[in-house]
């Protein structure tokens, strides 16, 4: 895998979408392969070593979740899904099956690029072990398990650190409520999600400039939470 020109596989049955995705991704320095069906996409993914897969959920031949499951069976390659609005249930299901993130059609290219790069970074981080995640004034040292804000240490309880750690490992990508509950509290009961909300509120008081207008620990309504990255911050200023 080259970090110079990462190879992206775009799987979408609509030609115009493939075209603008190719243009946008190539402008950002990606090499693009595309397929117009799940079967073709799967074939490409097994033949070439791709670094990222962008997958449309409305494919005619396969159900998106079946495809994600299939791919995850033999690869940890980052997957971003293209979804439509008002389909939170499906989005959450795909995230739980192993997709890294999603964008909702119609979307802006910057949003997709930011999330794709975050997913790629996570991949390399696992390989190379990049230990420190920077988000604005916050620095999260994943191996030393330390969090500093503008250079000053932030006192966090073990669970608070754990939450931040999970989000930081996926920095820039969304993490579902269920995943967070399981990783931090060991429960996967989504009924306990309200505890998560109150917990996040308290955490924001410690790390955000304006706790009611968070720029670091962002909520993704109906899905989960996302730790912003500088790319996310830029994109928000579009």
């Amino acid at each position: 895998m080259t970090s110079q020109q990462p190879i992206v596989l775009v799987i979408d049955d609509e030609a115009p979408i493939r075209r603008f995705l190719r243009a946008g991704l190539e402008l950002e320095g990606f090499t693009v392969l595309d397929s117009e069906s799940a079967a073709a996409g799967l074939r490409q993914a097994t033949l070439r070593a791709v670094d990222l897969i962008i997958l449309d959920l409305g494919l005619p031949d396969w159900d998106g979740s079946a495809l994600v499951e299939r791919i995850r069976g033999w690869s940890e390659v980052p997957i971003i899904v293209l979804s439509v609005r008002a389909n939170e249930v499906e989005k959450v299901k795909l995230l739980e099956l192993g997709a890294d993130d999603y964008v909702v059609k119609p979307f802006g290219m910057a949003e997709l690029i930011a999330r794709a790069k975050a997913a790629l970074r996570r991949h390399t981080r696992t390989d190379a072990g990049e230990p420190v995640v920077h988000v604005g004034p916050l620095e999260i040292d994943l191996s030393a398990r330390k969090v500093t804000r503008n250079g000053q240490a932030v006192p966090l309880s073990p669970k608070e650190y754990r939450l931040l750690h999970v989000l930081a490992r996926h920095a820039g990508n969304v993490v579902t409520q269920k995943h967070l509950l399981k990783e931090v509290w060991g429960t996967s009961h989504v009924e306990d999600a309200h505890y998560l909300r109150i917990f996040v509120r308290k955490l924001r008081h410690k790390i955000e400039d304006v706790p009611t207008r968070p720029t670091i620990l962002l909520t993704e309504l109906g899905v989960g939470y996302r730790l912003a990255t500088s790319a996310t911050v830029d994109e928000a200023e579009r």
């Binding site: 979408i17 243009a23 409305g58 939170e88 917990f199 962002l218």
Partner: protein, 532 residues
Amino acid sequence: MTTRSDTGGGSLPPPAKSRQAVPNGLEHGWLVALCAPLLLVILITAGLLAFKRTTEPTYVAICYLIPVVLAAAHSGVWPAVLTAALSVGASAYFLYPPIYSFKVDDTDQVLHLALFAVVAAVMGHLVLAMRSNARAAREREAEVASLHQFSQHLATASTADDIFAAIESHLGSLIGRPVIVFRLEPDGTSPNSLDRLPRDVASEIGARLGPPPQTAGEPAGEPAAPALVSNWLLRPLHQEDRLLCIVAVELDGAEERDPRRTTRKIDQTISEAARTLERINVGKALAEAQVRAESETLRQALIGSVSHELFTPLATILGAASILVKAKAITENPRLKTLATVLRDEAERLNSDIQTLLDASRISSNSVQPRMAWSDATDIVNSAIGRRAQRLSGHELVIDMATDLPMVLADSLLIEQALLQMLDNAAKYSPPGAPIEITVSSQNSAVLIAVTDRGVGLTADEIAHIWERFYRAPRVAGASAGSGLGLWVARSLAHASGASVEAASAGAGLGSRMVIRIPVNENSPQETIPAA
């Protein structure tokens, strides 16, 4: 091939009293019927004796009429006759000389006794007639009530299933026991309700509902004749030569022994019902229900395909526009940058307009399904502001959110959509650069999300109508385009999530304030699980 329409647990009304009502507690009834008049006769005899008016026959006769009439009204013919006889006996024995003997000396008194008997008979007969008339009237009233309920069910029925459920319930209440209706199913699936019946019954029903015999000339059999299979009575219902359904009634042991009588009775009921059905034109209602169901399926398919058709090109336009807006070659040239920006902004506007239309359509077809969860109102507002960051960039946003708001039970996505409509509204009707204030606060038992603008404001009349579908205030309708759907969608989505909306304004030109009010439950969670 056949199906059973499910009336559902609560929809079957308690069966009306059957025409052949057998009184419960049989022994009890008769005891009361016997003892009560006896007691009354004894009481009256004792009373008359006590007052020593014994030789006045008129008093005697009048007094004894009371138990006779009571017995006739309460218990029927024979108790009345018995009471009359007892009364005559008692008066002859105890009251008319010679006392303690059934012989009566005075012919006047004998005449009076005879007259008493006659009057008692007439009165008893009249009372009996009144009683049975009253009973008949009650039964007719029950029938009419049942019919009324039936026609109401028919009027509100929107599917064939509803109509057959109404038929089942109506027949059930007429006959006084549960009835099952089996009908022809267009898609030919076999229902599992048939499995609950004994095999021979099920096969008979299947045969009758199945296709007609292939060979012409073969006698079609008696299509309308009822059939008795095992302990089930099956009666086909026809309408204008078309088999509508088969009505199945389970007979109990007693009726099974004399099925002909039960059959005739039930048959009679069903024939009457069939005539009613014809009059109400159930066939037509069924056809209409089918058309309604088809048109709804069509509409859903249309919405589904329209949304897909519209969103794909829109996704391409927005995607491409978003790339152009950032491309170096474009940003270097101010005019090109303006072009690209306007392209992107208008595509975003188109996007939200189409989303509004789709929301309106979902609301109209009742397909909004709220998913309630404990939510932080701050999150909802931040998400909405994020989505409209571009569109609101021409206005100064003043954001004021209280800390430590209680959690609310809501569908956060629906509330966000409602808020987006309000934000779009504020931006649309405010002059460029004017501030828009967004506040989140808690008050009494609710969390309030308020959007305040310094725009065209609202008159009292406009406030009254502003949430209506397709309403556009005449004052602004000329100056700007719009569908009149935005605020209606906002209100509908807020309501779906259990919240309410309000609009207020100091008057025309003085800006407006729109509020989403989300009620707070007492069970709002306040504590985290042990954080450690």
